[in-house]
Structures are given as structure tokens and as C-alpha cells.
Amino acid sequence: MTLKPSFPRAVWAMLVKDLRLEFHTKEMFSALLIFALLVAVAFSFAFDVAPEGLREVFPGMIWVAFFFAGMLALNRSFASEKQNGCLQALMLGPFDRSAIYFAKVIGNLLVMLASEVVLTPLFFIFFDMRLDGSIWLLAAIWLLATFGFIAVGTLLSALAAQARASEILLPIIVFPVITPVVMAAVKSTAGLLLGARLVDYAIWLKLLVAYDLIFLAVPFILFEYLLEV
């Protein structure tokens, strides 16, 4: 019998721990939900436009709301591990440190996707939008964009958690880095909702795929440097 768990087992164990914690407290999920809806309400007053104009601004609105709300969730991701030295305990675990990163990425991704499943229909209802295109394409855009945001955000959340005033630091360091995701998410969503042909906005989907791959690989290398004591 070996004491060293395999990489997937280590990821699984930490993921289950995080999800169980989240299931009991619903800390991230409820914050995401409420904050994103509040942003929607703010937008409805800020852009008091005619329904035709709304179609143009809706993709931007929904992603800004998701990413702003996602920032709240990311703030909790590693901050909660700072209490009682939990992070040090995880780092002492007999596995590669990037396992911590992957567990956190999957956990954050699941929580954010779950909240998007609730939020997206609500946004469509509130702003009277209809989806003419394929729902699978919408799901693909949502998944790719959310993953890109979470992949970078989780790494930077681990970075910010080790600095002073991490809640203030995190948005300042995350937003400049995720601008390509914001652009690609908004452009591809606009393409889908305005009924453009897929070839016209496929380039943005490709950008999202490329971004996701790059920012899964780079943190994989860098994460162990981040968590040295």
C-alpha cells in the first residue's frame, strides 16, 4: 500500500471538500446570484434604451454582470483557506501542488456555471430577449468564457490571498488580464443573439479556446512557485 495518492485522487478529494463546504454554506453561490441580479437592475436603469437597442447592449451587460459577480466568488476561493492555516496544511499534502490549483479551478467553475444556469434565463426574461440560435452553441460560449475567467482568476486569487488587502488587489490584477475573454465572450454572444452566421464569429470562439489552453498550461507551471513558504 502506498501513502501517496494519485494526482486525480488528490484533486478529487480537495474538490469534494470544497463542494461540500459550498453546499453547506452556499457562500459563493448566493453571493454570485444576488450580486449579478443587482448588476442587472443597475443596468436596467443605466441603459434605459428601446428594445432594439437592448439587443446590442445585452451581451455586454450579461458578461459584465457575470464577471463582476465572479470576482466575489474568486475572492473567497483562497481567502477561506487562509484561516487557521488551511493552505499550509494543503501544501503539506503528499501530492503535486498543482493538484490544489486544479481542484480549485474545477470547484470554482462548477459553482459559477451553476449560478449561470439560474441567472441566464432570468437575464433573458428581465430584458425580454429570445434565443433564436442553437442552445448548445450558447452553452459552448458560456463554458469557454467562464473557464477562461476561472482559470486565470483562480491563479491570481491564490496570488492575491498571500498579499495584504487581497480583496482590493484581486480585481485590479484580474481585469487587465481577462480583457481578451471579455471581448471574445461579448462578441460571440452578440453574434449568436443577433443571428450572425457562425463563420462570422467563429474567430472569437477560437480565441476563447486558445486563451483557455494557454491559461491552463501557464498556471500549471507557475502554481508551485506561488505557494512556496
Partner: protein, 230 residues
């Protein structure tokens, strides 16, 4: 205790002298020698220092990237100091680029700012390296500060080409100077531009060596203070 040595004073002074002469000559070339552009007139003269500043900013951030990797691999404090000082200088030159650009754009494009790829990328670049400096000032303990900053220095630089690609797919109104087949400029203007590039690069080298020397001396002073208190 082994004392970290910064760049020698002689080298810094020589670079400073060279930079002063080169920048003065460049000023002469830009304002007195090179002819005014036919369509844009005198306002085009700002272009020589604008592009040279942009080049310096890019060079500085490349140095941050390379020094960050070298620091994470070797753990040597000197790389970290180099990355930090280069990032500071890079932010200064990005700021100069962002200020000189609109001064030119106002009479030529009839607007201070446009969300053109190069402008947008430069602005985001500025935000990324401001964030880098914020990380440096908010981490506890110098060792940790260096590691966090190095990780961000790598992430930020990897992100820049992606930002540029994504902003490019909007229509661009920024003039393209260097096309693949020929230069779109008069020979005396090319010469002035190349000279500005070279003199600004020397200026960057001087500022970097000066700043690294200052940082090293500050660290030595801090170490001496600690010893005295003990």
C-alpha cells in the same frame, strides 16, 4: 555578509553621458533637421519620440518577463531587482506613449482617443504593469513579494499578444508605418526615427542601471540599519 553589487558607478555615468548626448542630438534632428511632414505638418514631429517610447516600454516589459523567469528558476535576488526596476521604467515610458499619442491624434484624427487595437493594447499594458507594481507594494516580506511579482510578470507578458490579437479584429485607424514590403517614409525621416530609437534605448539602459544601482544601495543601507539595531 556578501554584499550585492549593483552596476558600477563608472558604467552608469558613462551611460548617462551617452544618453544625454544622444537625446540632445535626437532633439536637434527632430526639431531642426528633419523636414515637416507634408500633410500633417509640425505635429508629426512628436511621432519620433512617441514610437521610441513605445519601443522602450515594450523592451522594458520584455526584460521584466525574462528576468521573472530567471528569478523563478535561479532564485537569485539580482534578477528580481532587475525585473522590478525595469517594470517601473516601462510604466513611465508607457505613460509617455499614452500622453504623446493623443496630443498627435487630436489635430490628425480630430479626437483625443479611439479604441483602436494599438491604443487599447497599450492602455491594457499600462494597467497590467500598474497591477504588477501594486502587487510589489502589497505583499508581505521581500521573498514573497518577489515570487508573487515574478509570477504576475510572466502571466502579464503572456497575455499581451492575446490582447493585441483580440483588439486587432476591430477596425484599426492607427497608421501602419512598417509594411512588409517597403517603408512608408522619406529617408531623412527614417534616419531620424532610427536615431530616436537608438538614443531612447541608451536612455533606457542608463535609467535601468541607475535604478538598479539605487535599489541595491537602498537594500545595503537597510541591511546596515538592521545590523546596527541588533
Amino acid at each position: 555578509m556578501p554584499q550585492a553589487k549593483g552596476p558600477a558607478r563608472d558604467m552608469t555615468q558613462t551611460l548617462g553621458l551617452l544618453a544625454a548626448v544622444a537625446v540632445f542630438v535626437a532633439l536637434g534632428l527632430v526639431f531642426l533637421w528633419v523636414p515637416a511632414e507634408r500633410v500633417m505638418g509640425d505635429v508629426q514631429r512628436i511621432f519620433y519620440f512617441h514610437v521610441a517610447s513605445a519601443w522602450n516600454a515594450f523592451l522594458a516589459f520584455l526584460v521584466v518577463f525574462v528576468a521573472s523567469i530567471a528569478f523563478l528558476r535561479s532564485g537569485s535576488h539580482r534578477w528580481d531587482t532587475l525585473a522590478y526596476c525595469s517594470a517601473e521604467i516601462g510604466v513611465v515610458f508607457t505613460t509617455i506613449t499614452l500622453i504623446t499619442g493623443p496630443i498627435w491624434a487630436r489635430p490628425i484624427w480630430n479626437t483625443w482617443w479611439s479604441w483602436d487595437p494599438r491604443l487599447t493594447t497599450t492602455l491594457i499594458l499600462w494597467f497590467i504593469y500598474l497591477a504588477y507594481l501594486v502587487i510589489r507594494s502589497s505583499a508581505e516580506g521581500s521573498q514573497q513579494q518577489s515570487r508573487l511579482a515574478a509570477v504576475f510578470g510572466i502571466i502579464g507578458f503572456v497575455d499581451v499578444p492575446i490582447v493585441f490579437m483580440s483588439t486587432r479584429w476591430w477596425r484599426s485607424i492607427h497608421p501602419t508605418l512598417i509594411q512588409t514590403d517597403k517603408m512608408n517614409m522619406e529617408p531623412s525621416m527614417v534616419f531620424t526615427m532610427v536615431f530616436s530609437f537608438v538614443s531612447f534605448t541608451i536612455l533606457y539602459a542608463f535609467l535601468l542601471s541607475y535604478r538598479v544601482r539605487l535599489e541595491t544601495l537602498a537594500e545595503r543601507a537597510a541591511a546596515l540599519k538592521r545590523d546596527l539595531r541588533r
